[in-house]
């Protein structure tokens, strides 16, 4: 049985359905699964709940799924760079659940690890804590946060092999490894699909057991959101 699919559309075949929940890796536009997002746009699947730290920009990343109104709800920590998002949210066409970034990361980690909930001090005394169970440990107050799982996780790695082993590069790692563990189905896209045995097992970030399908992407745009440079000395 092979995990390798010829392209993003093939890798998502039979996986997508209206109303599903999708986790999408990346921080800003860094490390986003741009080929799989494009294939989801093309599929026309709708009423999606998307769990992702950010919502892309108007014409790239998850912003493309917002433009086509395929997303019903976002679970994110920060959505600041997207006018389409703002318009749809203010028109109440889009539902939004903010999670503190560390809570979001841990909810996904917990979900993938079979942990249904955990206590954290993040957000105690704020709007985030409203309606959540509070509990004292060693004199400190914590709130209960639930683990998160998704029908589908789409992640982007630098290198991968036919076993589904993944290696990420620099800050493009971010939410991708946890999301790979928390999808009932996880599809990975990689910049380089390398022969099994090429990756050093000691440096694999995501073991292949978490990845069900894998594609090699080509011609990555890897758009930069805020190009900031210094003058040479």
């Amino acid at each position: 049985m092979t995990k390798i699919y010829p392209d993003a559309a093939a890798a998502l075949d039979g996986v997508l359905f209206d109303g599903m929940t999708i986790m999408s890796g990346g921080f800003g536009l860094c490390g986003i699964p741009e080929k799989l997002i494009a294939a989801i746009v093309a599929s026309g699947v709708k009423n999606l709940t998307v769990i992702s730290n950010n919502a892309g920009v108007d014409d790239f990343g998850l912003g493309l799924l917002l433009q086509t109104r395929q997303i019903r709800k976002m679970i994110s920590s920060y959505v600041g760079e997207n006018d389409t998002f703002e318009r749809q949210y203010l028109a109440k066409e889009l539902e939004l659940e903010f999670n503190p970034q560390g809570t979001l990361a841990e909810r996904i980690r917990a979900g993938g690890a079979g942990i249904p909930g955990f206590y954290t001090k993040t957000g105690v005394g704020t709007l985030i804590a409203e309606g959540k169970e509070h509990k004292e440990f060693d004199g400190q107050t914590y709130i209960l946060e639930r683990g998160l799982v998704a029908d589908l996780s789409i992640v982007k790695a630098w290198k991968g092999d036919a076993q589904g082993n993944l290696v990420f590069r620099k800050t493009a790692r971010n939410f991708n490894p946890m999301m790979a563990t928390a999808g009932r189905m996880t599809v990975a896209e990689v910049e380089a699909l390398v022969p099994v045995g090429t990756l050093d097992g000691d440096t694999v970030h995501t073991p292949g057991i978490f990845v069900k399908r894998i594609i090699a992407g080509a011609n990555y745009e890897k758009r930069i959101e805020k190009r900031t440079v210094r003058e040479s000395a």
């Binding site: 920590s77 903010f98 560390g102 841990e106 005394g125 709007l127 985030i128 620099k170 930069i224």
Partner: protein, 208 residues
């Protein structure tokens, strides 16, 4: 004369200590990196998954896989390590980061912080701010002392939704440096030429 943005960054840099692991917020806090004293060993953490953040890249070095939490392109150092977001916030929530310097809209006299949401306006999200203020050992805020209309931003109680309760240790404004102490805020230092009377007039929080 009240302090400028760069003065605030310079004064906030006095919070740094040799061997510290530090997370700097967006805006004035980011400028603190320009004021790390020569010879002092400070490691900057970026919550998107990097420890040991270097300066902005030369045009020839720009790498789309290498950004900071403000989504700006950045460089790595010899000491740099990378990790996923859950591990990043294990550092933050787990109390392993020595210092967080971040901006604020309001701070209360008990150290409550509001910096993420204005009701009725579009809310962009709290990002990692709630985790940072709940987890780091010391939280220092840089901010304007008043809003553009001259209203106090150091208050008895915050009016905006909170980022964290009783989490701020020190506030550095364009008018002075203030510590959160039992009973209210203590004036540690005033900007040159700024009188106590001016600070009292522009502060709603109890000054002790």
């Amino acid at each position: 004369m009240p302090w400028t943005r760069d003065d605030l960054a310079r004064i906030a840099a006095r919070e740094l200590r040799d061997g510290f692991y530090v997370n700097l917020g967006i805006g004035i806090p980011t400028l603190v990196a320009n004021h790390i004293p020569a010879g002092m060993d400070v490691t900057l953490q970026s919550e998107n998954g990097m420890l040991g953040m270097g300066p902005f890249p030369l045009a020839s070095e720009v790498d789309p896989d290498l950004i900071n939490a403000g989504k700006q392109t950045i460089t790595e150092l010899d000491r740099t390590s990378y990790f996923n977001s859950a591990e990043s916030f294990a550092m933050i929530r787990g109390g392993h980061i020595d210092l967080s310097i971040l901006g604020a809209m309001e701070v209360s006299e008990t150290g409550d912080l509001a910096n993420w949401m204005v009701p009725g306006k579009l809310v962009k999200g709290m990002g990692g701010a709630m985790d940072l203020v709940a987890g780091v050992k010391r939280c220092v805020v840089t901010m304007d002392h008043t809003d553009k209309a001259g209203n106090a931003k150091l208050l008895k109680t915050c009016t905006l939704p909170l980022t964290g309760k009783a989490c701020v240790h020190r506030i550095i404004t364009n008018l002075g440096v203030f510590d959160v102490v039992p009973g209210g805020l203590a004036i540690v230092e005033a900007a040159p030429g700024v009188t106590r009377a001016e600070i009292v007039q522009k502060t709603q929080a109890t000054l002790v």
